[in-house]
């Protein structure tokens, strides 16, 4: 009994979903502000995990597991937050792997890492059509759109998505970040993306540079 924010952070860091969810519910029931649970509990733990990753002390499998527990706890906090007329603090990033490409590992890693610095991440999955990306931008109004393509065969699709955004009059509303093994900074410039990242840590850096994390982010 008497769960503390420290307990919650510890549960997130060890990816203990049962303990983290129990801790989240107990803190809310005890009257702790949902914003405090979110920022000083959940987000703070992910930031700590990000710092550990950068020091080489965390393994990717642990970051991914913690990010999932973070998401589950966030889903518990969110309704309480909304009931009080408050919104989540983190800036929204929509990510996805482009049409024709079935690889989603790199994108998943980027998603997990973005969460470690306080971004809110909506993952559209893989083989995502340009129309779906455009619709998500129109409906969710993210600050940042991340397009992943692992194959030389599918990187063309990144260009198609950017053109679809332009055609829908949405291009100016969102920053576009592209990545994937065959993608280069030159390609990003050629297709009119805002930025390119070579790997997940760089994606985090670039995302922070482009839009800032908002909320508790750096």
């Amino acid at each position: 009994m008497g769960q503390t924010l420290q307990d919650l952070r510890e549960a997130i860091l060890t990816a203990d979903d049962v303990a983290a969810l129990a801790s989240t519910r107990e803190l809310l029931a005890a009257g702790v502000e949902p914003r405090v649970v979110l920022e000083e509990g959940l987000a703070a733990a992910m930031l700590e995990l990000g710092r550990r990753w950068n020091r080489g002390e965390a393994f990717l499998v642990e970051v991914v597991a913690s990010a999932d527990v973070f998401r589950q706890c966030g889903e518990v906090v969110e309704p309480v937050l909304l009931a009080r007329g408050q919104k989540k603090a983190g800036r929204l990033v929509v990510i996805g792997t482009v049409h024709g490409d079935l690889h989603d590992l790199g994108k998943n890693i980027v998603g997990a890492m973005l969460k470690t610095v306080g971004f809110e991440v909506t993952d559209l999955g893989r083989d995502v059509s340009a129309e779906r990306f455009a619709r998500a931008v129109a409906e969710l109004k993210p600050h940042l759109l991340g397009l992943s393509a692992l194959l030389t065969t599918t990187m063309m699709e990144q260009k198609v998505v950017i053109e679809a955004l332009r055609d829908a009059g949405l291009r100016d509303r969102v920053k576009v970040l592209v990545g994937g093994a065959p993608v280069t900074a030159e390609w990003a410039a050629e297709i009119g993306a805002d930025a390119y990242a070579a790997n997940a840590p760089q994606a985090v850096e670039v995302a922070l540079g482009l839009v800032g994390a908002g909320g508790d982010g750096r």
Binding site: F59, E62, G100, L102, H103, T152, T153, M155, E186, N199
Partner: protein
């Protein structure tokens, strides 16, 4: 002839266990194919297909039938139509790496361009230890829609060696075949010059492009190589055994797709196994886990009687340094001892993302040493030389013996100029260079003094015409080296 005993990491019983597990995965879980034509085709051949989900469950009987239809080896020809090598059995051939997007310059890498590929091809062509020239880098100048075809154009124009390549789109394959037909006089299917890679997306998925390339390649008589890329802990189980099961199931599904299109299609059981470093989220191809996976997968391919391929003899270092030498020699030796038929990796750095001229020259030295290793120790009454040893007795001078003159060449491997074997004084007098500097000299010498083995004017014109047709179809006005 191969004498050194083969490296095995799976026992026969374990091979059977992997086989059973892969059959179970294929029959009960199945693979996902994002290509309606392949789904219809496989359904007609007896696979259980759910057209809505794209899931294909393949019965063991269909797998066994398809395996029986595979040739155990096939000949690859050079650009001049001569048989260059056989892929299969215990023969080991070294190929350059493929699909890099960067070109190494000193300690830095930059996006690769057409002239870089031409230099790489010319150097790979001149290095006798390199048996196949892959389309090593993409040329940044080329529009993405024909970058695959243009890569092949530059290789065919500058080297007669057999090629490992691959298409980036469905149309890329027939486009590339038109280039091959131009230089072989339409004999591409009879005397194949190039192998086409088709990569599943781990785990157990085939994109529309890969599936189309397999079907179209098999139908056109082009050799197809499946390059499965297990990534333990990320896209396949963290266990190496589980990753081999995924690799095997993916590759078997490719075999079924190809052999049901054209029984007897020439196929290669390939792979690009990687490790997955949980500290950085990177995929080292020269990790010891990748090497174990490469050997295990090759054992599976050999068990099924197919020619084999793996990425090995390469490095994840970002420059040509001690790590590059260590990783290249280690993984190349292991793959060769496993008798993987095609070892692709020469010149590669940085997770095969970067290609280096100097590394190519160093890796050729490694390939030469490894081929000597495979020849092992030749034992016969003459090589044992018992009579000679007895006659000459203790303290003998073998340097002056005819026996020595007779055997020393065949017994010794003499490395090329990149490896130093001078005594210290001589080494100092000649500038005290390191391996990188000597590799650079080797490359410069080749580029300056070796005549390029370019295509004859008549076929060069035909190749240019074929490339032109592809460019016209894609709205591309001009590309370096392609005659207007």
């Amino acid at each position: 002839m191969s004498r050194a005993s083969a490296l095995r990491v799976l026992s026969d019983a374990e091979i059977a266990e992997v086989h059973e597990a892969a059959l179970k995965v294929l029959a009960e879980g199945g693979v996902f194919i994002d290509y309606p034509r392949a789904l219809e085709h496989l359904a007609a051949k007896g696979a259980r297909v759910d057209a809505t989900s794209g899931r294909v469950r393949i019965p063991p009987r269909l797998v066994e039938e398809s395996l029986r239809a595979c040739p155990s080896s096939f000949a690859l020809y050079d650009r001049e139509g001569r048989e260059a090598l056989r892929v299969g059995g215990d023969e080991v051939h070294f190929a350059t790496s493929s699909c890099a997007i960067r070109y190494q310059e000193g300690a830095a890498a930059r996006p690769s361009r057409a002239e870089d590929l031409v230099r790489l091809v010319r150097v790979a062509d001149a290095l006798p230890q390199i048996d196949l020239v892959s389309t090593m880098v993409v040329a940044g100048e080329a529009p993405k829609t024909l970058a695959d075809t243009y890569r092949l154009y530059l290789v065919l124009a500058n080297s007669p060696k057999p090629v490992i390549t691959g298409a980036f789109s469905r149309q890329g394959l027939p486009d590339m075949k038109s280039l091959l037909d131009a230089v072989t006089g339409g004999r591409t299917a009879d005397a194949p010059l190039a192998i086409f890679d088709a990569c599943p997306s781990p785990a157990l998925k085939w994109t529309a492009i890969s599936a189309a390339n397999i079907m179209d390649g098999a139908a056109a008589g082009l050799p197809v190589e499946f390059v499965s890329m297990p990534m333990p802990g990320a896209t396949t189980p963290a266990t190496l055994a589980g990753s081999v099961v995924v690799h095997t199931a993916e590759t078997l599904s490719g075999v079924v797709l190809a052999q049901t299109v054209r029984p007897g299609a020439r196929l290669v059981w390939g792979g690009a196994p990687v490790g997955f470093d949980m500290r950085y989220g990177t995929t080292p191809l020269s990790s010891v886990e990748a090497v174990l996976l490469g050997v295990a997968s090759a054992q599976m391919g050999k068990h099924y009687g197919l020619p084999t391929h793996t990425y090995a003899g390469l490095s994840d270092s970002k420059l040509l340094d001690a790590q590059a030498g260590l990783e290249t020699a280690f993984s190349g030796t292991a793959a060769a001892l496993a008798r993987v038929n095609l070892i692709a990796g020469a010149g590669a750095l940085d997770f095969v993302g970067t290609q280096s001229l100097e590394k190519l020259a160093l890796d050729a030295e490694a390939a030469g040493i490894i081929q000597r290793l495979l020849r092992g120790v030749d034992v016969s009454p003459e090589t044992l030389a018992a009579d000679l040893i007895r006659e000459l007795g203790p303290g003998a001078d073998y340097l002056s013996q005819p026996h020595t003159r007779r055997f020393f060449r065949a017994e010794s491997h003499f490395p090329g100029p990149v490896l130093d074997r001078l005594d210290r004084k001589a080494w100092e007098e000649r500038g005290g260079s390191d391996a990188l500097a000597r590799a650079r000299t080797r490359v410069e010498t080749i580029l300056k003094e070796t005549e390029a083995r370019s295509l004859d004017p008549e076929r060069a014109a035909k190749l240019d015409q074929a490339m032109r047709r592809v460019m016209d179809a894609r709205g591309c006005a001009a590309l370096p080296f392609v005659a207007g």
